[in-house]
């Protein structure tokens, strides 16, 4: 598959004609770009003989990225002589589909995986080591977060794809008004700054609800930044109830009352975006989507002076606690299901997806919301031309941990995560529970899972 561009297009044309002759139908309508693009690519192909490869991903927070992927699916269909169909569903619903697919032994061929789901579903996934190693050879090593998430007994059970970084999006001018030309570097400084801001009616925004994105990406790193951890490095003993965790919880309790929008307990992953765009909060931890959407809708999203808001938005990494600066990012991968009848085709497709030119196109369209799974993508020229506030995301993935720290990130860690135990620990404290009691409650829950 190393044709030059011109040959490739000729080849494609020829393939297309033959393809049509053979199967007698037209492929998926090429996306036109923009929102209409996604929504227009709806004609179901009707191949008489083509093999269908069903690929399921979440609905991307950057709509244009999905448009690009659908376009790539069409192109891949032609290149591979099959019918690649991308289905995007709400991120919250993916696990229901995966579960019923695995249990019933039939469903999509490729599922997108988040965090350490490959650990959870490992017995139903196909070994992707050959693909992973090929891509490593081509593009360099993966980020450190991937091994604990999906390397099981030396085998890659899923193919790392990308990482959604998060950082604090904040209003530069407002922070400047309270004396912070640079974003606060520690949690205590952030507390100070935001107390002043809340007094001006511009609180900080953080969700403590049952969300899979914005809540854990704050609560886990906050715990780590104060020295807390879920288990010991062996992953057997629960060590949550430490001074570090208690300090973190006490901090959060004070921080919430003094500085945060108290509606945050009810927020899901989208509420902080909307609150920010409505000028209700001064800052919030999020992916790059707040900035990107503000820029793309600069006529609709404006600040109090009538100027486009995106000009006033900048990003900063999570502040540091006594134990340093920590992050939890949303790492994504693709897994091929064992029950699939098209495993080879699926693997070929994923290899195709990771070809430098294809992957790059998707990455560029994501505009910094995603970073590539391989560290080498940091050096891609796109980062030079990307907007200043987004540059921070380039190296974001370097210092991340995954839940289950300090032990390996096994299915038990997923259980803790999916029961929102860590997040609820903070939510309970914020709602009035004594930090001691909140931590003890969380520890009991963890013990029930790890040491039962």
């Amino acid at each position: 598959m190393g044709n030059s561009a011109r040959d490739k297009s000729l080849l494609s044309k020829m393939d297309r004609r033959t393809f049509i002759k053979v199967s007698g139908a037209v492929g998926v309508v090429a996306a036109a770009g923009g929102i209409e693009g996604i929504l227009l690519s709806r004609t179901p192909p009707a191949y008489a003989q083509g093999v269908r490869l069903h690929w399921v991903r979440w609905v991307d927070f950057i709509p244009e990225a999905d448009v690009e992927l659908k376009r790539q699916a069409t192109e891949a269909s032609i290149d591979l002589g099959a019918n690649v169909q991308l289905e995007t569903i709400n991120g919250n619903d993916i696990q229901a589909r995966i579960t019923s697919a695995i249990q019933s032994g039939s469903g999509a061929d490729i599922f997108m995986m988040m965090y350490n789901w490959p650990q959870l579903y490992q017995n139903a996934l196909v070994d992707m080591s050959d693909i992973a190693n090929a891509v490593v050879k081509d593009q360099g090593d993966f980020y450190g977060i991937y091994r604990p998430s999906m390397d099981i007994n030396g085998k890659w059970m899923a193919m790392p794809h990308s990482i959604v970084g998060n950082a604090i999006a904040y209003r530069k001018s407002w922070f400047k008004e309270v004396g912070f030309t640079q974003f606060p570097k520690t949690f205590d400084e952030l507390h100070k700054a935001t107390i002043a801001l809340k007094k001006k009616g511009r609180p900080y925004g953080q969700t403590l609800g049952h969300t899979f994105g914005d809540a854990p990406t704050w609560t886990y790193p906050l715990t780590w930044a104060y020295g807390g951890a879920e288990t010991d490095p062996a992953g057997k003993k629960v060590v949550l109830a430490s001074k570090g965790t208690r300090d973190a919880v006490s901090f959060m309790r004070a921080f919430y009352k003094d500085s945060c929008d108290e509606g945050g307990l009810a927020w899901d992953d989208t509420d902080n975006n909307r609150a920010f765009h409505a000028g209700q909060i001064c800052g919030t931890l999020n992916g790059a989507s707040i900035y990107i959407v503000a820029k793309r809708q600069k006529d609709k999203i404006r600040d109090d002076n009538g100027n486009p808001m995106y000009l006033d938005i900048d990003h900063a990494l999570l502040p540091a606690g006594p134990a340093g600066e920590q992050q939890l990012y949303l790492s994504m991968s693709h897994a091929v299901m064992k029950y699939s009848k098209n495993q080879k085709l699926a693997k070929d497709f994923i290899l195709w997806l990771h070809k430098k030119e294809n992957f790059r196109r998707w990455l560029v369209v994501s505009d910094g919301y995603n970073v590539g799974a391989n560290t080498a993508w940091e050096n891609d020229p796109m980062w030079q031309t990307i907007d200043e506030p987004l540059k921070l995301f380039r190296t974001a993935a370097r210092t991340t941990r995954i839940f289950g720290y300090a032990g390996p990130s096994t299915a038990k860690a997923t259980e803790v995560f999916s029961k929102y135990i860590i997040t609820d620990m903070y939510a309970k404290a914020v709602q009035g529970m004594n930090p001691e009691d909140a931590v003890r409650w969380a520890e009991t829950q963890l013990k029930g899972i790890y040491e039962a």
Binding site: T99, Q103, Y121, H210, L265, A266, A411
Partner: protein, 322 residues
Amino acid sequence: MDHEFADQVGSVAGVEAALPRPHVERPWSLMYLLDNERFLAVVLLAPALLLLGAFIAYPFVMGIWLSLSDTSVGNLGHFVGLQNFVRAWDDSIFRTAFKNTFIYTFWATLFKLALGMWLAVLLNRHFRANRIIRAVVLLPFIVPTVLSTFAWKWMFDPTFSVLNWLLFRVGIIADKLPFLSNGTWAMGCAIVVNIWRGMPFYAISFLAGLQTINPDLHEAASLDGANGWQRFWYLTWPLLKPLTVVVVVFSIIQTFSDFQLIYVLTGGGPANSTHLLATYAYQVGVAAGLLGQGAAISLFMFPVLFIVVWIQLRYVRRLEGV
């Protein structure tokens, strides 16, 4: 065979003219068989039993097996007895969800009953817009739950709530109400949405019942000096009891196992204060992949519902039987 059938049917149509035909004429005809009560019963019940058997009984049994095993996604389970049930009971989140389910069901049902009855009494009059109002009143019940709950979610949204706006403008509040961000409030809001959605069903059902009550009875009662409330309590209410039981039983079953509303409105938060058994079972079974435990949590609903239903059915039988 068809001949005979046509004959017999023909005889029904010409009932007055035909002479009675003894059944013994063609002993082994299909009609004879179908005349046999037992055979007919089997034939009539077969479709329902087959469908329910295939799509409920069998999965139900599998569900029970799941709950007695340590199955997780993609992994074969082994029999572990009642371990999942014990474990669930020890789990404080489970106990919270269990308690929440009762609170949710109790308050929602109570209000749906009271408000539904009141609305039915109001609708049980003749006025011009009757038909339109009855159809309009059904709307909350018809609109897909997911969509209406989203609308409510946005009405309660901390940043954009139209309810906050309204109350603020009218001067009742000075700062926004914590609709979904406070545990107790969130449960209250969920109950309100459930009432909003379910009340029309109660109202229309009671309306049907009210129309069977002979208006002369009401005349007689008011002539005897009973006022509106007394007439209702001593006359209407007792007559409606059988209907009430049926409606309440079905409603309790639906509300107790409610999933969609909470899932969309709060996801069980904040801090598990609105988790119900169904949403928690889903979270454990699907998000954490622990199918055995999820099944066990779901099954806790079953005996409770069974007892509730049994009590009410006995009550009905007492009313009927005596």
